[in-house]
Amino acid sequence: MFLIRVRATFEKCGRAKYISHLDLNRCMLRTFRRSRLPIWYTEGFNPHPYYSFALALSLGFESSCEILDFNLNEDIPFDEIKDKLNSVMPEGMRIIKVAEQKQKITAIAKAEYSFSLVSDAVDSLYADVNKLIASPEILIEKKTKKGIKTVDIKPDMEILTCNKTERSVDISMYLPAGTQTNYNPTLFIEALKKTTDIAFETENIRRTAILCADNTVFE
């Protein structure tokens, strides 16, 4: 059976960040149908178009690097696939790139996130953030299938930038992602809330890259 494996990178911004992962599935199904692309259907009792997202994105997060894999029954130029999908995507969602599937999903090791902590007392918050980053361990309580367990996220967390602006502290970091361990930046924010007295609000959480273990972009 002739089958083309395709990997699309798409962004999910603005109002689209309120589409939950479950809803995104349904949304993508309808997008494919609107695009009239010859997507490959599974051949079981209940045939359905086959596609999968490499990493789930939390509700409320924006992203510029989501990965969507699917198969086509016909060989169609990548640009044409991209254009066809983009002409029927919902507001806030846009295909950036369509290419072949170079690596296996299991190659995903980490993701890059950025976010802003908005506060009336930026200076004090900035100091507290740096204190937390410098501390030997960052213990958080993580919900797992077996119940709540305490985890030290410090060894797996890599701060890339931490800058102060007039109204916010802007941070970017690597966190483990993929089939093994997944850390969400809100874990860091929760840890900060426990160590600082400064009131702040989190804005613009955004996934900016999905990476392999050697920090190269997953393709």
């Binding site: 603005g14 109002r15 689209a16 309120y18 589409i19 939950s20 809803d23 349904r26 949304c27 199904l29 309808r30 997008t31 494919f32 149908r33 609107r34 009239r36 259907y41 045939p47 509700l59 409320g60 029927v88 919902p90 507001e91 806030g92």
Partner: protein
């Protein structure tokens, strides 16, 4: 910006995508180029309201007009309502995210009685005066209502400026055109309403005053401001040519009817005497099979849905049902689309039709038998014989089904204990039938689900004169039914009779109920159709405080010659016919369907043409 304010709290609530718009298919316009803005409000949550076909039609239709902009608005769930009230977020429309208080029209579709309190809550959230009399003379914020419940809008008469009777495709635009003209002239609200009430189908409640007799019934109605004495509902004469959208707003979150829905016909030929829809949507009109298929294809193409349902009161009564399904199935099978067929009647459920449904997907079979004995089914004019029910079940069982769901009503006029026991007996005979069939599904037991609703007499039906059973009577009948069932193969479920009692009060009530609806809302009543929000005690308190005797509406027989609260509204079906049908019912006599013989309901005379 309201958008920022909304977004600040959106992640605190369940299913936030319901509150922020941006769905594929939603219509965005430049508001500086728009002359009339219409907020189409559904008085329930997004998940329910977005499933409503009428909204989809009128939304697209209005937006076809370049200078009119129709937007959607729904009742927020409790969690988001709390956020809105706490943060001064007024009720807003989903396209522009602008407050609906700034709109020209705020239109509610009234689909069921238990959504009445939500209307008040939404007006309050919007910051619009709840009572029509408290709104400014300035020409803005016209609160209008349509939908089946406005066939008796009196319990809401104090809140609406205008009620639109019948089908809205033409009259809505006529109202907007009039508004646009008068707005340019700088007219007042009352000047607009005085002109509007001259349009056929437009009812302005405040131009009508009710005078009551000492016994509480209506003595007469006085009209003011030159309003017509009788308001006739609007219909679309040629259904095949009427506007039908080729695109729907496609929600992100799952809604109740999450599929393409194509209207195939309006009205019903059956005349079941309890069914309001069967009378208020007359005359019976069909769309051609071609038209239906074209709409279905367009909608699937533009929305990306992979499921179609055919919308009507009784799809199998369509005169071209076989060619229509064949044509549709050719398309849906090749495109891997599911076709679901609701509203099947037992009497014309053929083997070939079952084959067609089975080609698509095997789901449960549901039949509305309504009454447990033939005598009672004749009283309600559900023209279905036991033989037909059995025959249908046989076809279903032989076709591989092993479970059947049957709908019944309790508290129907003339009902006796024998009719209740008859429900159990009918179910037993279906079980016996199952085991008598040689090629029944192997190794599976049969399961009969019986669902019992409490009968609610409704305006514009032959049973509009009938009282509802009291709570005690219903409880007796429920117990009797349970005692009559001796096997686990039959499962019984009930609707809450308190809900049905509130329904009948609001359905048959008059204008004096407005203050009770207001009082109930003040006590916190809303989402009454949701079990967890239904507080009958609060409603009873409200009725009592307002001096309303609920049994006057719920448990009293309305006399044939009494002026009913909806007698000034003309839904084309004549009152003489309803009286005649009521009398025929009491003799346990049936009336054949409209195709077999015209029953003389009066619609064809008023429309000026034969129905068939």
């Amino acid at each position: 910006m309201l958008k920022d304010k909304i977004e600040k709290h959106l992640l605190e609530v369940q299913k936030p995508s319901r509150y922020i718009g941006g769905e594929v298919g939603s219509v965005i316009k430049d508001k500086s180029k728009v002359d009339v803005r219409f907020a189409f409000c559904f008085p329930d949550t997004y998940d329910i309201g977005m499933s409503h076909l009428g909204m989809k039609i009128l939304y697209s239709l209005t937006n076809e007009r370049e200078n009119y902009w129709c937007e959607r608005c729904f009742a927020p769930s409790e969690d988001f309502e709390a956020v809105m009230r706490e943060n001064d977020i007024p009720l807003y429309a989903l396209e522009s995210l602008d407050p609906i208080k700034d709109f020209d029209f705020i239109g509610f579709t009234m689909q069921y009685e238990l959504s009445y309190a939500n209307v008040l809550n939404m007006l309050d959230l919007a910051g619009i005066p709840i009572f029509s009399k408290d709104r400014t003379q300035e020409l803005t914020q016209i609160v209008i209502a349509g939908g089946p419940c406005v066939c008796n809008p009196e319990p809401l008469a104090d809140f609406f400026d205008i009620c639109v009777l019948g089908e809205g495709e033409e009259v809505n635009l006529e109202l907007m055109d009039l508004y646009y003209e008068l707005k340019k002239e700088g007219a007042t609200r009352d000047e607009f309403l005085r002109k509007a009430c001259q349009i056929e189908g437009v009812y302005v409640p405040k131009f009508y005053e009710f005078v009551y007799k000492d016994d509480g019934t209506i003595d007469h109605i006085e009209t003011t401001n030159g309003a017509p004495e009788v308001i006739r509902k609007r219909i679309i004469r040629d259904l095949d040519k009427v506007y039908y959208p080729d695109n729907f707003v496609v929600p992100f979150t799952e809604i109740v009817q999450d599929r393409v829905s194509v209207e195939v016909l309006r009205g019903c030929i059956r005349g079941c005497r309890f069914c309001q829809a069967g009378f208020i949507y007359r005359p019976f009109r069909e769309k051609h099979a071609e038209t239906v298929c074209r709409s279905a294809k367009n909608l699937c193409k533009n929305t990306g849905y992979d499921e179609i349902s055919l919308a009507s009161l009784s799809t199998s009564d369509h005169s071209e049902i076989d060619p229509m399904l064949t044509k549709l199935l050719d398309y849906t099978v090749s495109e891997k689309i599911n076709l679901s067929l609701p509203s099947l009647r037992v009497d014309n459920f053929s083997e070939s039709l079952l084959e067609k449904i089975k080609r698509v997907r095997k789901s449960g079979l549901t039949f509305a038998a309504e009454g447990g004995t033939q005598r009672l089914r004749d009283v309600i004019n559900k023209n279905v014989s036991e033989e037909e029910i059995m025959n249908t079940c046989r076809i279903a069982f032989e076709g591989g089904y092993s479970s059947v769901k049957l709908y019944f009503m309790m508290g129907l006029p003339t009902e006796t204990d024998e009719d209740i026991v008859g429900i159990a007996e009918l179910a037993n005979r279906i079980i016996d039938l199952y085991y008598s069939i040689e090629n029944r599904p192997k190794g599976r037991g049969v399961q009969i689900s019986i669902s019992c609703a409490t009968f609610v007499p409704k305006p514009f039906t032959p049973f509009q004169f009938e009282p509802q059973d009291t709570r005690e009577m219903i409880e007796h009948k429920q117990k009797l039914l349970l005692d009559s069932i001796k096997t686990k193969k039959i499962k019984v479920s009930y609707h809450n009779p308190d809900v049905s009692m509130l329904e009948v009060i609001l359905a048959k009530g008059d204008r004096r109920l407005c203050k009770a609806v207001y009082a109930a809302w003040k006590k916190g009543c809303k989402f009454d159709s949701w079990d967890e929000y239904f507080h009958f005690d609060k409603w009873l308190e409200a009725f009592e405080e307002c001096g309303i005797d609920t049994s006057f509406y719920a448990n009293r027989r309305f006399e044939y010659d009494e002026i009913l609260p909806w007698d000034h509204l003309d839904y084309l079906v004549s009152k003489e016919f309803l009286v005649r049908e009521n009398k025929t019912a009491r003799q346990s006599k049936t009336t054949p369907n409209c195709r077999l013989r015209c029953s003389g309901c009066g619609v064809n005379k008023k429309v000026g043409r034969e129905c068939f």
